[in-house]
Every structure is written in C-alpha cells, then in structure tokens.
Symmetry: C2
Amino acid sequence: MVKKQRSLQRREESLSRDSIIEASVALLDSGGEDGLTFRALSERLSTGPGAIYWHIADKSDLLTAACDSVVARTIHEIVETTPEETIRAIAAGLFDAISTHPWIGSALTSAPGASPIVRIVESIGQQICQLHVPETHQWTAAGALMAFILGVSSQNAANGQLARRQNLDRTDFLEALSTTWSQLDPEEYPFARSVAGRIRDHDDRADFLAGIDLILMGIESMRLRSQA
Amino acid sequence: MVKKQRSLQRREESLSRDSIIEASVALLDSGGEDGLTFRALSERLSTGPGAIYWHIADKSDLLTAACDSVVARTIHEIVETTPEETIRAIAAGLFDAISTHPWIGSALTSAPGASPIVRIVESIGQQICQLHVPETHQWTAAGALMAFILGVSSQNAANGQLARRQNLDRTDFLEALSTTWSQLDPEEYPFARSVAGRIRDHDDRADFLAGIDLILMGIESMRLRSQA
DNA sequence: ACACTAATGGAACGGGATTCCATTCCCAAG
DNA sequence: CTTGGGAATGGAATCCCGTTCCATTAGTGT
C-alpha cells in the first residue's frame, strides 16, 4: 500500500497525492465538510474511488493532508517582527484561514499531534522562547495560546456554518442569537441576557485578538513573577 | 413533528425524549461518537428507528440534547465560593466531564449558541460580573474563558480517543508523541524538539488549570488598567 | 518482444441516517 | 360500550457514504 519512491512520472496527466489534495481542498471549500466525498472527488479527477486509495490511506488521512496544506501556507506567509506582534500575526492568520476554510477547525481537533498541529506549536513556541519565558513554563504558554487560537477560531467558524445552513448572513444570525438570548428567563440567565445586546454588533475577530492580548498579558505577569 | 403537550403518559413503558437521551448518553459513553447509531439506539430501546424520529428531529438534535444533559448536571454540581475559585471549579468540572465523555467536545463545537453553550456562558459570566470586570469587557473575558475551556478540553479528549484507537494508554501515547517530536528536523522544528521531553510526563489537567490562571491574571490586569 | 509491477477505475459490499407507511394504541365523543 | 381519530410505533425501503476487490491497463527493465 505504501507508495514506493519513483523518480519519473508514469503518465503525463497522472493522479498524484498533491493533485488529490488540491482537489480535496477545492471540494471542502465549496461544499463544506460534507462536500468532500470519494465519489465527488473521483468525478472531479475523472477516475474511480479505487485509484484514489492507491495514493491515500483513508478519509482521515486525506482530511489531515488537506488541512496541513492550508496551515503550512498560512504559517509560511507570516512575516516575523517582535515576538508579541508575530504571535498576534500567527493568531490572526490562523483565525482568518479557519474563517475562510471552516472545515479546518474540525479537521484539526481530530488530528492531534499530527503534522498541522506541530507546525502551529512550532511557530508559536519560537516566539515564546524569544519572550524569555522560563523553559519550565514554555509549554504551558505555547499550549494555552494554541488551544485558545484553535478553540475560538473553530467556534467562530462553526457559527458561520450554522448561519449559512439557515441561509442567514452574519448580521441576521447575530441578530437572531441576540434576540433568543434576550428572551431567556431573567432569573436563571441574567448574564446571558445582559450581554445579549452586545452580541448583536460585536466583532468576533476583534474579540479574538483581545483574548490573545489577555493571554499575552498573563504570560507577561507570569514571567515577571517567576523572575522575582 | 413537534410533540404536543400531554399531561398523561400513554403507555407504561413508552418511549420518551428523556429515555432516548439517557440511552444515547450510555451508547456514546461506551462506544464513543461512532457508538451512537439509530440502529443501536433502536435495538437498545427495543423499537424501530421510526419511533425515535417521532421524539427527536435528527441526529444533531439528539447529540445536542445528550450533551446538554451532561453539561447541565456538571454545572449544577458546582459549589459557589470566591469568583476565581468558582471559575476554576467550573473549568475543572467541564474538563473532567469532557474527559469522561469525550464525545461532548465535538458535540459542543457543532452546536453553537445552543442550550449547552448558554449554560456555560451563564455560569462563567456570573462570576465575571462578581470580579467587577467593567461591563464593556465582560463578554470578552467570558468568551475567552469559555473558548479556552472548550478548546483545551476537547483537544485533550481527542488525544485520549486517538490513543484509545491505537490501543495505547495515556503514558504510552505521550511516550510515542514525545519520541516522534524529538526526531523532527532540528533546523525546522527546534521548539517542538525542545519541549518533546516535557510532553512525556506532563499533566494535562494541571497545564489546563495553569492556562486558566494565566487568563485570570490577564483579566485582573485588564481590570486594573481600565480602572486607571 | 516479454513479463512484471505500479497504477487505474468501476462494480460491489456493509452500514449509516432518514423517510415512509401500515399498524397499534389510547382517549373521548356518541 | 362502541368507535373514530389522532398519537405513537416499528420495520421495511431508500439513498448515499467509505471502503474493498479485482480485472484491466500502461509503462519499464530485460
């Protein structure tokens, strides 16, 4: 089943792992997670499902690979400046990538420790090092940042998909959510009611970056504390 | 399709939404996300799939309901002390609940704005209020905490499931991950290599709670800053 | 030219969610 | 006590998915 190394292409327009992944990303982007099926894929590549299995282990392999190709591209585009700024750029880049390709969110959570995750840990970790976080706390800091970035971005992407399923745009969706929350039982849900209004016209991306700053502040005070 | 209100039970051992949800939770707990199928469910309830659809809209409805029942129970068990301590308790409670019922993680991300999420936002938000966070920042703080809690817990649960699929216990799994990371290219992945050792015997739960403290510290400095 | 293997592609299988519908059950009106 | 009708049931049937199987093809070293 493992593909042997081969220096020469066999047919001109042959199937290849890369071309399959490229087509998968296109299908995922246009049709969401359900858009990627081996039937749709084989039709798009004008071949049969069997041929695809020669190059790919199974669907989860395919999903991880598609994910990795997008994550790699995203991280590669980051330009490095100060550590804090670079972390913000990584965060924003991933947030935007997951907004554009909502399927990445769920793909990442079902591929722990795999290639895309390592890329992300690495790019964040390098900045953490430059922030002079003591070695014993580096993993905590990097892990917290990564979890937060993936958690919020995925949640945000899921929101967008839910809205799309109901044929609403973002504004209408938030409007509906805000209305629902404001009609909750005041006894049981005072907080949800009180923030309902703010939900309506908040900016997810800005909130997300505010959260990143919150964590960066926390890392800073942790660093100061451990130096003392 | 909507079930009309009925004050009287029709048959003694009849199907009910609650009994279906209870059975679903049992199936999910014993067999993971794939354990819940309408076939298995109808067999366990000794009925047909059609009967279930009378009480439940579709599978996502079922999953959200199962999720809600566990989340509600978890949050109900929290005993309120100081705001910080209560937030830690909520966080730990959800972390543990998601560890025990790994399927909750993915169920939550695919049900944004729905009942279980509202419960969580509410319980966290009430504590945020008591921390005297200015109203304009309450949503940022509560949202960041929730995203972090769900993000890390889900990731952790996903790790556990991956390990289980490979028939490894947690230690062996971390061992394998650590080894893989330590063999990465030193040029490209210096950070992942350097933390590989620490991964081996780290405590996910402790790291998680450390991350919560990180965010709480951040919230504190935000509060101080906005007061000045 | 031959044989051998990498690669292909389409048919078939098992199992999932969901729908459909004939049937059963219970209450309430006559 | 009968009976009409809606609530509820359960099993068969549908449609689509991932995956496997296998006969066939296309290049390549001999």
